[in-house]
Symmetry: C2
Subunit: 119 residues, 2 copies
């Protein structure tokens, strides 16, 4: 029975675009990631994806617009919607999605990360 | 396609212990609440419950200990675990749980709130 402090968890790693699992909610996983630079266009055909910005600014490019998320802001990308996250400076985010989701969805690439790393 | 700013959402209401839905993630709901004072002992027999503190301090009393959650801290209360949240001063929290969960779980009381209010 141990609470989770986001700052403490973020202090444990420095690499970008590699989500780390910090807790589970039924069959969903709470993950954190540090991101900077460009991610790949992708979608998740079978699940929505929750993004919450803890620090910094995350941009999510969609086909029709680009969303700017700052600290304290969130967005749930609907399943199947093509999106490309990017960040101009380092940004800390919390993600929630079903256990087993791969970060690059349908678009396997060099940015595809393990989906089973706890921190 | 509209992002959600927690501060803006919290500014829309003042009552305590009345979770408001701000978004959905598949069949889960993202809710926010302002809390202050004592809640009731209860449990949710069929689901875990995600608590994230946005501002202030939330205490969660369990049978064996009391957890103190400050801003930037989270805890997922496992299904079936008796717990009693309380806050000495006003505290702003984000909750995530399956659609339809009632705030007081198995313990209907005067604190039982609607589970279908969007904000």
């Amino acid at each position: 029975m141990k609470k989770i402090n986001l700052d403490e968890k973020f202090a444990l790693f420095n690499e970008h675009w590699t989500p780390k699992i910090i807790s589970e909610l039924n069959d969903y996983q709470i993950k954190i990631a540090k991101v900077e630079g460009d991610f790949v266009w992708h979608n998740h055909s079978d699940t929505d994806e929750f993004f919450f910005v803890v620090e910094g600014t995350l941009f999510i490019e969609f086909e029709s617009e680009t969303m700017e998320l700052n600290a304290g802001e969130l967005y749930v990308v609907p399943k199947g919607v093509q999106h490309r996250p990017y960040a101009k400076g380092e940004c800390k985010i919390m993600l929630i999605e079903p256990r087993g989701v791969v970060n690059t969805g349908d678009a396997e690439s060099e940015l595809t990360a393990s989906n089973d790393v706890w921190i």
